[in-house]
Symmetry: C2
Subunit: 375 residues, 2 copies
């Protein structure tokens, strides 16, 4: 059966990238690797829209999240954490695992944080060291207003730390211009690579916090990694094949051009939303992001059954996590995807809903999406 | 120019493995991945020669080393660390980064530890929680007698933690039979994969220490990973493409058969040693392992110049690290290698030494190696 991957990570990998990674492996101290890595470093700074080096780890994105905590904080430090889904909750879990004191700003699943609530939390006690937030909360499909949060946080001594794992290369997030202090990303989303690379970029303000941070660390030691990267190397053996793929995927992204990449994701997201709404379904997120669309399962139909209906047709999408299990489905449109992937998803959704006894007029969702794509 | 990779990691990747990893990526919650992962888990236990699950992390080997420390120890715990090279020193650095008290057993570079010295260190004070050792010290080419260390350590309450990053799949190391408590490995050595997967297997005794270990952790949390693996999953997104390659490389290793794999590495190591000695060169390690051969640069010749001479001919080997820089070269014969790789290395060595003015009779080293390979 022909297969389609439309889950929010891993995402499909372009053939050019697969080919590059299938070449015989090179050594990470060899001149060929050093030339490649220098190009990758330059292109990563363009993608992150930042001046400082982007650190790279052989790890899942969660590893770079842990790095952001342990390299800037000390035991007992108070921090604000925006929790509006599984990934916001992960920031809190990491902080708690390291004895950092979490002041949560809880946001109901599917909603986006009110910046005023973050402002109030920051003022609730002195000495708050950092605010942890999620740009694209993959578990709910919601986007949080990082620009508004940055404007608030930069008026205080706290650092703004943002999980951009499913937003980097999807939605505009000019790190330096907005004043984000740490941006964390992963390889298996809009970067169109297999999982296994994690990234973190730090502002000068964030770097200034590093020497005083007393939490223990070794593998995710940002200062050691910066020292190595300034010599065009990594502190530990890098995930060479993924870096070779990264060179290729960064070339693809930058050749398309960041504004075009963001516009494409926005168009695909709007088409998907129009399609599911034309079928009478309801979006789960109040402010949906462009990475993935979370849709409420219609009354009386299990979200898991919809996911299985897609799988039967060769398509992988995602269901809900935790308490959202069975209640939502998540269709990604991130990375190596175009309008026809959206039509595929909507076509499969219509066929699956029909199978499950939901009243659907075949082609209605597809047409609504086409009308967006046509513009 | 045709290229050869004969450095101690990354090592060459078999075409079957490159092909497998070049397939379109699959999702880590999809049924195809789950079937693959179940096979990988079973084969890993065979390779580790252990009954318990082998945990897997998206990380370099160093990440699993950190995991071994933070999952079994508490701040201030005294531990014994065998330091006989860069990787033994890394155990000490990780312990110190986490406030673990290191009692070093220092071994001159190139020597192997005297088990009696470890025994004495264990008796030097009460309450020692663990002994950290390196099976194959890649920086010097020395092998340490893990069987002898295990016999000593298992008479005490301490855990024996072994870095087998360049020994797993190279030299016999029956974890359960010898009584090793934690075995750590990486993907880019005898496993014939790109870097980016780290492994750790724990004995029942090691698992018993996990609940009481108070060092902080999140990404390298062994208990969380065990809980996930028992459901045939990973706690965080796994490095899917590398796991797909791992399925293939484990099949290759187990089809050859572990005893044959160990015998092949032993034969290639003996051939390499015979070859360099026939050229009048001296081995750096007193007890050399089968993963890589460290050779002293002849008087008056810089080891770096030899490495460059290989590179000029398309071959990547390694020089010395730290204080060994310029003094040794390291030729690996690990993973996807056979006797002709050894002849290639020795042929290039002869040509390079001749270029550098060292008196060499071309073919002498190659012949000595052939005589071993012929048997």
């Amino acid at each position: 059966m022909k297969r389609y991957l439309l889950a929010p990570g891993p995402t499909p990998i372009p053939p050019e990238v697969l080919q590059a990674m299938a070449q015989p492996i090179i050594h990470h101290r060899a001149p060929e690797y050093e030339a490649l890595f220098a190009e990758v470093r330059r292109d990563l700074r363009q993608l992150f829209q930042c001046q400082n080096e982007v650190l790279m780890f052989a790890a899942s994105g969660t590893g770079a999240m842990e790095g952001a905590v342990v390299n800037t904080l000390s035991p007992g430090d108070p921090v604000v954490v925006v929790r509006g889904g599984k990934f916001g909750e992960r920031w809190a879990e990491i902080c708690e695992a390291y004895g950092v004191r979490v002041l949560p700003v809880d946001v109901p699943y599917g909603k986006s944080v009110d910046p005023a609530a973050v402002s109030a939390a920051l003022q609730s006690q002195p000495g708050i060291q950092a605010v942890f937030a999620t740009h694209s909360e993959t578990s709910t499909g919601a986007v949080h207003d990082i620009q508004a949060l940055a404007a608030i946080v930069r008026e205080t001594p706290a650092l703004l730390v943002v999980d951009a794992i499913t937003s980097l290369g999807v939605m505009d997030l000019p790190m330096d211009a907005w004043g984000v202090d740490i941006l964390v990303a992963g390889s298996q989303k809009a970067l169109m690579l297999p999982p296994g690379l994690a990234f973190a970029a730090l502002s000068d303000r964030a770097w200034a916090a590093v020497p005083g941070a007393r939490l223990p660390k070794y593998y995710f030691n940002f200062a050691a990694e910066r020292k190595a990267i300034e010599k065009n190397q990594s502190a530990y053996t890098p995930a060479v094949s993924l870096v070779v793929g990264l060179q290729e995927s960064l070339r693809l992204i930058l050749a398309e051009g960041l504004p075009n990449v963001f516009a494409r994701h926005d168009r695909l997201a709007r088409a998907t939303r129009a399609g599911v709404q034309a079928l009478g379904l309801t979006l789960f997120a109040e402010h949906p992001g462009a990475a993935c669309t979370a849709v409420k399962a219609p009354a009386g139909i299990d979200g898991g059954a919809i996911v299985k209906g897609f799988r039967k047709r060769g398509i992988t999408i995602a269901g809900g996590q935790g308490s959202m299990k069975g209640k939502i489905i998540r269709i990604a449109h991130m990375g190596y995807v175009d309008g026809f992937d959206v039509l595929t998803a909507l076509g499969a959704l219509e066929l699956t809903l029909a199978d499950l006894g939901y009243p659907v007029k075949l082609g209605e969702g597809v047409r609504a999406a086409q009308q967006i794509l046509q513009k």
